[in-house]
């Protein structure tokens, strides 16, 4: 069995190495004929520039350099073409002087050599000034502002903004891949993904025998460099962090992965692959494979068996397959178990429009998404605690409870960490609610700026800081460094919302079994949320904490049968320490 495990490990490492290796072996050759049939003006500039840089084979970094300099060149060309230049600006200035004391009208521009677009936009920007009188200086300033507005919007309107540039870089690079990856994507998919998952299972399945009979198997966790924040854990964490940074901000370096998964994506949904498809696939495999590990490790506990099967199911069906099928049927490809405010873009204009355009099913999706957080959250959290979602349904929770299980003991149990947690998670909730309110106000009023805040800027910052940095880079990248629930504990706005209900209005609690606690500390050590469970258990107090996700591991690792997750009457749920005496067990 040990040999099988070792073979599994060696083969899996080989798959992992090839997986990373394919990113570095390819040559890239720009092929004009493979490009989109209806390029925009900016894209046309871009292609011309790229052609000028040569269609010979290049390595990846050179190719990315060429693409990005071509994008910059295209944007310069667009800017030259559309911008109001200094010369023109001077003419506007002198025209403003000549207006003298007459009130401003938008016909002001007619004698100036402005292009049609320039004329139209400047009129738009200055309509509000019509009919008012200005001093020459004021007028010059206002007009300068309007011109600046116009100039700074050129790239967004006609050029390649950062979003389009990222997409164009990825697509161009993807189409330029030559060699093995381009010729045999299906073969590589089988070798890397299918074989990779199979070899990982080969490494995990022998645990059935090697770990001994059912029971808690935590031997050697703090001796293992992977699970005790030693070199292997630090290395793994660094790789995960690097992966997330590339995924979010430099996805074009991952084009080989996108290519390899293309045939599978096509088979599944008829569509193409993207970095998000690759990420979804990796995520689902991680939950599935490490879910099997979880099932073996906790096979003595039905609670853990059922819960683990549940997160695997929700990840596979709801997060991965159903959205693909929806896309196949030209419906909004949403994850029906994800909900606002965790799904922070649920109320973004393009998402709402997409759902409304989808007709009846789209309206259902919109309604469903609202019912989830308005009705389901309070009702289920009241009945069962937030665990119904956090450790049974949620995708972030699903990954934490499977892929992240080996790192649960690394969470910080100190009082200081608890204090930070309460501030940070509730601030994120406030941020999420405020950001969504701004976005919805903009949606209904058509006005992008509220109280001096641009809702697009605010939502951009939320997406960057919370959606990408916190939930992704820190949330998962830090698993081997600070435990598997960093995001859920310190950042998730949905967890914050459910936590408030769980703390104040719920039937859920972890019951402490009288005086049986021996203060050993296993419960606190293995609490992924960093709750000092022991501090309650040793006093005989029930544990009622906003952050508890009900994973049930404290109860499982307790060697004295002290803890039990329960739903019960609210009366007496929270109580002080107990006293044991001749008169029996008394609660204070």
């Amino acid at each position: 069995m040990k040999i099988i495990k070792l073979i599994g490990l060696v083969l899996f490492m080989a798959c992992l190495t090839s997986f990373v290796g394919v990113l570095f072996v390819g040559q890239y050759q720009f092929d004009y004929s493979k490009l989109s049939e209806n390029p925009t003006e900016a894209e046309e500039y871009f292609y011309q520039n790229l052609l000028r840089l040569g269609t010979h084979a290049k390595d990846k970094f050179r190719m990315v350099d060429d693409i990005q300099s071509s994008i910059a060149a295209a944007n310069r060309a667009i800017n030259n073409k559309y911008a109001i230049n200094e010369n023109l600006q001077n003419k506007v200035d002198s025209a403003a002087l000549s207006l003298m004391d007459a009130p401003f009208t938008t016909s002001f521009y007619e004698d100036l050599p402005l292009s049609k677009v320039q004329l139209q936009k400047l009129r738009e920007y200055t309509t509000w000034m019509a009919g008012k009188k200005y001093s020459a200086e004021d007028l010059q300033n206002y007009l300068k502002q309007a011109i600046n507005n116009f100039n700074s919007g050129i790239i967004n309107t006609f050029g390649l903004d950062s979003y389009k540039a990222k997409e164009l870089t990825t697509n161009t690079l993807k189409q330029s891949v030559t060699g093995l990856v381009a010729r045999h994507p299906s073969l590589l998919f089988t070798l890397i993904f299918v074989f990779g998952a199979a070899t990982a299972l080969l490494y995990i399945l022998p645990n059935l025998v090697l770990l001994g009979g059912p029971g808690i198997k935590n031997n050697g966790i703090f001796h293992n460099p992977m699970t005790s924040r030693k070199w292997l854990g630090i290395l793994t964490g660094s790789l995960l962090i690097t992966f997330y940074i590339i995924l979010y901000w430099f996805p074009y370096y991952l084009v080989e992965w996108i290519l390899i998964t293309e045939p599978f994506a096509h088979w599944l949904s008829g569509g193409t692959s993207s970095q998000w498809f690759v990420y979804g696939l990796l995520y689902t495999l991680a939950v599935g494979v490490m879910g099997v590990r979880m099932l073996i490790k906790y096979r003595h506990s039905n609670y853990h068996l059922i819960r683990t099967l549940s997160v695997i199911f929700f990840q596979l069906a709801f997060a991965f397959i159903i959205p693909q099928l929806l896309a196949k049927n030209s419906l909004p490809a949403i994850d029906l178990k994800n909900m606002w405010p965790l799904d922070y873009s649920f109320f973004f204009d393009y998402r709402i429009d997409q759902m409304i355009e989808a007709g009846t099913i789209g309206y259902f999706m919109l309604g469903w998404g609202i019912v989830l957080f308005v009705v389901a959250v309070p009702v289920f959290t009241y009945l069962y605690g937030k665990r119904w979602y956090c450790s049974w349904v949620c995708g972030c929770g699903g990954l934490a409870e499977t892929f992240g299980d080996p790192y649960r003991q690394l969470s910080d149990k100190s009082l200081r960490a608890w204090k930070i947690e309460r501030w940070s998670i509730h601030l994120v909730l406030v941020f999420a609610v405020g950001m969504t309110a701004l976005v919805l106000y903009s949606y209904f009023s058509g006005n992008a700026t509220v109280l001096g805040l641009n809702s697009y800027t605010v939502r951009g910052w939320y997406g960057f800081l919370i959606g990408s940095v916190f939930a992704g880079v820190v949330g998962t990248g830090f698993y081997p460094l600070m435990g598997n629930r960093m995001w859920c504990r310190f950042g998730c706005p949905l967890a914050a919302y459910m936590g408030i209900i769980q703390r104040f209005k719920s039937r859920f609690r972890i019951t402490t079994n009288g005086g049986q606690c021996i203060s050993c500390g296993n419960c606190s050590t293995y609490c992924e949320q960093g709750i000092d469970v022991r501090s309650y258990a040793q006093k005989g107090e029930n544990i009622v904490r906003a952050s508890c996700v009900g994973c049930g591991v404290c109860a499982a690792v307790c060697p004295r049968g002290v803890l039990k997750l329960e739903n019960g009457p609210e009366a007496g749920r929270i109580h002080g320490p107990i006293e044991i005496s001749e008169k029996g067990i008394q609660v204070f």
Binding site: G212, G213, P214, G215, I216, N218, N219, G220, I221, F222, H223, N224, S228, H300, S301, N302, Y303, L305, I306, Q409, S414, L415, T511, N513, G514, G515, Q516, I518, S519, C520, G521, N522, S524, T525, R534, S535, Q538, G552, A555, A556, V557, P559, R560, G561, K564, L565, E566, I580, S581, E582, K583, G584, I585
Partner: protein, 430 residues
């Protein structure tokens, strides 16, 4: 201001300190030469097995002590002068006290076996013992554990977790059969064997063999068998750690003799926990009880009396728990071995041999008096109430599910217990 000095920072000493602080402004000093901070002795095995690190076994963060004005002194008390109320310390000046609490715990027993002081022979009680065990078991292949009690089986599990082959010598004919009834004891025997531990029942240690360099080479049993090993764990019980108090005015027997208020024969001197021996033990209790929660209760009791609130030690209905490899054990009330006349019990066992339920009751009065659980968790409060209120067995079995404390979705077997009982009644076996 009253200066209370507590010798020992285990659960008993620390409970005393915490409860004094809750009730008074007295100056509190806790002295220990074992560790700077309080840690949970029960968790030592988990440090060795890699489940936890030492820092995880500390129930309070290090700032706790300063915040609660409990002075911690990392030093060793060599002797006590009860006349002048001073403690002679291993390092530095003598320390004066107004009130002294002795909470020095236990030391592992040794029974004058030849070779018992060889390198590689040790007991397991203190943090130092654990550190020694870490050294002694480096590159170890073969170990012998002597003594079939709770520490013995823990030590076997610890060594086993490091892939060290363990021979486990148990003097009795079945594991821990002075406490466990025959059926439960047999289940544990089988479970130990299923872990590939070489369990030797009815076997005793005769001598430990030197390898010529002062290290252990093996042991010889009373039946003359020689077993090679590089490590011998001696876990044949513990005794009060009171050697430094011999030949003083303090009244001692096996332990420091105390009354129900934790008072010794000397004024302002108290004793709590493993090192204390009750002159008149509470009903159904031993004079010296080395149990975690009794240390806690005695500490609180002691604090009450020091702070002028007269109280007496009332541990209530007996309970305890343990874990034998993967099998958890809980007990409530009195399940005596052997079953006394007038007492009967209903016993259910799962086919796996990993779970069992026993409910003991008085045949005449029908009152339930005790529960033994293996691999199943029961609620302390419920069992305690049934026992204290002497609820009849029939009623208890009808409501047995209420006592179950297993995690959600675990299979419940209480109806099978009731069926067995009905069958027993039907065949008049009781």
């Amino acid at each position: 201001m009253n200066h209370v000095v507590i010798i020992g920072n285990g659960i008993s000493g620390i409970s005393t300190a915490r409860h004094i602080r809750k009730k008074s402004e007295a100056r509190i000093t806790v002295i220990s030469s074992e560790s700077e901070h309080f840690f949970s002795r029960t968790a030592l095995m988990y440090i060795y097995m890699g489940h936890m690190k030492y820092e995880h076994t500390k129930p309070y963060e290090d700032w706790f002590w300063k915040k609660n004005r409990i002075d911690l002194v990392y030093n060793h008390v060599e002797s006590v002068d009860f006349e002048s109320k001073t403690l002679k310390m291993a390092l530095g000046n003598a320390l004066h006290y107004d009130t002294l609490v002795i909470a020095t715990g236990s030391v592992p027993n040794k029974f004058e076996w030849p070779g018992q002081n060889l390198q590689g022979v040790q007991g397991l009680y203190s943090k130092q013992d654990l550190e020694l065990m870490e050294q002694n078991s480096k590159n170890l292949k073969q170990a012998v554990v002597v003594g079939g009690g709770l520490i013995g089986i823990e030590m076997a599990e610890m060594l086993h977790s490091r892939n060290i082959h363990v021979t486990f010598l148990v003097r009795e004919n079945s594991f821990w059969n002075s406490v466990l009834p025959a059926e439960e004891s047999e289940m544990i025997n089988k479970h130990i064997q299923s872990q590939h531990i070489d369990l030797r029942l009815g076997e005793e240690l005769a001598e430990i063999v030197d390898d010529g360099s002062g290290k252990v080479a093996g042991i010889i049993t009373k039946t003359g068998e020689k077993i090679d090993c590089g490590f011998v764990g001696l876990t044949v019980g513990v005794s009060p750690n009171i050697a430094f108090l011999k030949n003083t005015a303090l009244d001692i027997d096996h332990g420091i003799l105390i009354n129900e208020r934790q008072e010794t024969n000397l004024p302002d001197v108290y004793a709590v926990g493993d090192c204390a021996q009750h002159r008149i033990p509470p009903t159904g209790r031993k004079a010296i009880e080395q149990i975690w929660y009794t240390g806690k209760l005695q500490g609180e009791n002691c604090a009450n009396n020091i702070c002028g609130k007269q109280s007496s030690y009332q541990p209530g209905v007996f309970y305890n728990s343990a874990k034998f490899f993967d099998i958890e054990y809980q007990t409530y009330g009195n399940v005596a071995v052997p079953e006394p006349t007038g007492i009967a019990s209903v016993f259910w066992q799962h086919n796996s041999g990993l779970q069992s339920i026993r409910v003991a009751y008085e045949i005449e009065s029908r009152a339930v008096i005790g529960f033994n659980l293996l691999g199943i968790r029961y609620r302390h409060e419920v069992c305690e109430q049934w026992i204290r209120k002497r609820i009849p067995i029939e009623k208890v079995l009808k409501n047995l599910k209420k006592a179950n404390f297993d995690p959600e979705f675990h299979k419940k077997y209480e109806h099978e217990v009731a069926q067995i009982f009905t069958a027993q009644i039907g065949t008049n076996k009781v």
